[in-house]
């Protein structure tokens, strides 16, 4: 059944997690993610799940990883300073291949910044915060409906790829209240991790791969699970063999980067062959779309690209959609973290213009519109 509700972004994330099958939440209170923690303290026990408030964010993600290795879909929610503490265990989750979801409700930083205010400045931190080479998935919602839909998608992708998936929300979306269509579990396509079915003797936790993703048992199952953050062989025992290390680290990237067509594709609005294209994500994409629609109603010919998967960066799609444009405006509430990625995909820097705001306030449609008009004049 689909029901309509008036929810905040934070509430939508919590309800989506329950409907996606999450039955474990561990967290630590932090503005502006606190409502997710509070709501989960009610929703988890009432759905036969577990809520636990841990001593810090390091322990929160640790408990989530433990619960997931026990076979339960698990998640946490935090903001910049807490996310910084989680980086250590995000690396572990990537290395040992644990499905888990981390909701990062971005706030103004660096450091404590302004706890209650908005920014989009964690784009690089979520991708590169943890040392070592690995890939991971980051999704960016731009509406409360998206908070719901992409949270469900985050759980599906984490189970499918056995990887941490980060939902990159922000303080503005977190407290924005909008109508949401809630599709209940029966209506949702839910992906469950594959489990081993062969003989128990001689089972290798990392030995049987399906699309480069290991078919792993859970702790307590008949198939013995061995997990270590050290470089490990198919058996799950550690190894310092250079060939084992190289194959493992390359597979960790390959298992996601080679399957990007399974990740949420960018939305394209307006004219495909426009000379001017706006690229944005998250709540800034809402302001951008409003500006693009207004401009096009006034006779301008503008296209708009909304990124939904931020990492791995959809370079191929972005390059393809932007190739004909003479000018590309990149709208984001940071110093240009996504703009850097467009340069990395091979788009000439002189074609790019950043619309950046760093005063802890959201980017408004009129700000994007005036930039559009400047470029068109």
């Amino acid at each position: 059944m689909t029901i309509k509700k008036l929810l905040t972004g934070n509430e939508a994330c919590a309800y989506a997690a329950v409907n996606a099958g999450a039955r474990f939440f561990a967290g630590y209170p932090i503005t502006p993610a606190t409502e997710i923690v509070e709501l989960c303290s009610k929703l988890m026990p009432s759905n036969n799940g577990v809520f636990i408030q841990m001593e810090d964010e390091i322990a929160s993600l640790a408990a989530v990883i433990g619960a997931s290795l026990g076979g339960t879909k698990a998640f946490t929610a935090t903001s910049g300073p807490g996310f910084a503490l989680m980086s250590e265990n995000i690396g572990l989750a990537a290395m040992v291949e644990v499905p888990c979801v981390i909701i990062n409700v971005q706030r103004y930083g660096p450091s404590t910044g302004i706890a209650t205010k908005f920014s989009q400045s964690d784009v690089m931190a979520v991708r590169w915060g943890s040392p070592g080479d690995h890939s991971l998935i980051v999704l960016a919602p731009s509406s409360v409906q998206d908070c719901y839909d992409l949270t469900v998608e985050a759980f599906n992708l984490s189970e499918r790829f056995r990887t941490p998936v980060i939902l990159l929300s922000d303080a503005a979306l977190a407290h924005l209240r909008e109508k949401v269509e809630i599709r209940e579990p029966g209506e949702l396509n839910l992906y469950q991790r594959k489990k081993p079915s062969g003989p128990v003797d001689g089972y290798l936790p990392y030995g049987s791969l399906h699309n480069d993703v290991p078919v792993m048992s859970n702790f307590g199952d008949k198939h013995i699970l061995r997990v270590t953050g050290l470089v490990h062989q198919a058996s799950g025992y550690s190894s310092d063999n250079p060939r084992v290390a190289e194959e493992l680290v390359q597979r960790l990237a390959r298992k996601i980067d080679n399957y990007q067509e399974e990740l949420p594709a960018p939305f394209f609005y307006g004219r495909q062959s426009a000379d001017l294209i706006v690229v944005s994500f998250g709540i800034s994409a809402r302001a951008s779309l409003e500006a693009v629609n207004t401009a096009n109603n006034e006779g301008f010919k503008t296209g708009m690209l909304e990124l939904r998967t931020i990492w791995p960066f959809p370079s191929k799609k972005v390059k393809e959609l932007c190739s004909g444009a003479k000018k590309i405006l990149v709208v984001e509430a940071n110093r240009g973290q996504v703009r850097e990625q467009l340069i990395s995909c091979g788009i000439p820097p002189e074609k790019l213009r950043g619309i950046n705001k760093q005063n802890a306030e959201v980017i408004t449609p009129s700000e994007v519109l005036s930039a559009l008009k400047e470029e068109n004049s």
Binding site: I52, D56, E88, G91, T228
Partner: protein, 271 residues
């Protein structure tokens, strides 16, 4: 179950271990395997979780479920595992540096929550894997590679800490006292809630060498002489206590564990 069945928990084909000759880690592993065999806990319902460091490598030599995560965080991971899989018997085998420095907060909170975990702390008084630096448990004034003229900081008693934090079972022994070690581990495997078995262990490569404790035989004799039964220790005056450490069972009680508390909480909310 016959005694030899301890081998069902040990990956004999992966031996010899990486540990130095004279290290206590292998002795502790055998005591744990014996205790598991005598308690008849099947390997697929046993989880051995480790910290980082020398003792952290113990998971490479077991046949049961094995978890090896990030430095100091083992108890937090296992808290998550135990809340969703309460039927698993979870043993966390941690080093003194892992548990009392970087992992101190998780240690206190796990004991406070009384999570159903058997925690074995192998205390060799230093960080062996990184070359013998002092840990919070290295005794005052002892020589390590970061305290060449004697450790300037006081140490801390993890057993007393576990007691005030709320653990159900707290004991301390040494690698010399092999039978006692196995018995304490076995006793803690039979408990619900947070158990701590601290095992003082020789580090022949660094700690014993820096502090001129002598050969491995002399190190074991040092453990035998310095660690006296808690009853005898308690009768000593403060000056005498300076030269000794206690061993024995400090706490043995049956307070409700975290899982029981949580489920009681749900019942109350539903009413």
């Amino acid at each position: 179950m016959p005694l030899a069945d301890y081998k069902q928990y040990v990956a004999m084909d992966r031996l010899p271990s990486i540990w130095c000759p004279g290290c206590g880690n292998g002795v502790a592993l055998k005591a744990l395997a014996l205790a598991l065999a005598e308690s008849e806990i099947p390997p697929d319902k046993t989880l051995l979780a480790n910290g980082i460091g020398c003792s952290g490598r113990v998971g490479d030599y077991v046949r049961c479920h094995r978890f090896h995560g990030t430095h100091g965080r083992t108890l937090a991971f296992v808290t998550g595992i135990k809340l969703v899989r309460p039927e698993i018997k979870a043993v966390c085998l941690l080093g003194d540096g892992d548990c009392s420095a970087i992992g101190m907060s998780h240690f206190i909170h796990s004991a406070r929550r009384n999570v159903d975990i058997v925690t074995i702390v192998i205390n060799n008084f230093n960080y062996g894997m990184t070359g013998g630096q002092f840990s919070p448990l290295s005794p005052y004034n002892m020589i390590t590679s970061t305290s060449r003229s004697g450790k300037a900081e006081p140490d801390i008693d993890m057993c007393k800490l576990a007691d005030v934090a709320g653990a159900n079972y707290v004991s301390r022994t040494t690698i010399y006292h092999v039978a006692e070690m196995k018995n304490y581990i076995k006793e803690s495997l039979g408990k619900k809630g947070f158990s701590l078995v601290e095992i003082v262990s020789p580090c022949p490569t660094y700690y014993a060498r820096y502090n001129k404790i002598g050969t491995i035989i002399q190190q074991l004799e040092w453990l035998k002489e310095k660690f006296i039964p808690i009853e005898r220790y308690n009768e000593m005056n403060n000056d005498e206590k300076e030269n000794f450490f206690w061993r024995g069972i400090l706490i043995n009680r049956d307070l409700p564990d975290l899982y029981q508390h949580m489920h009681k909480g749900v019942e109350v909310r539903k009413r």
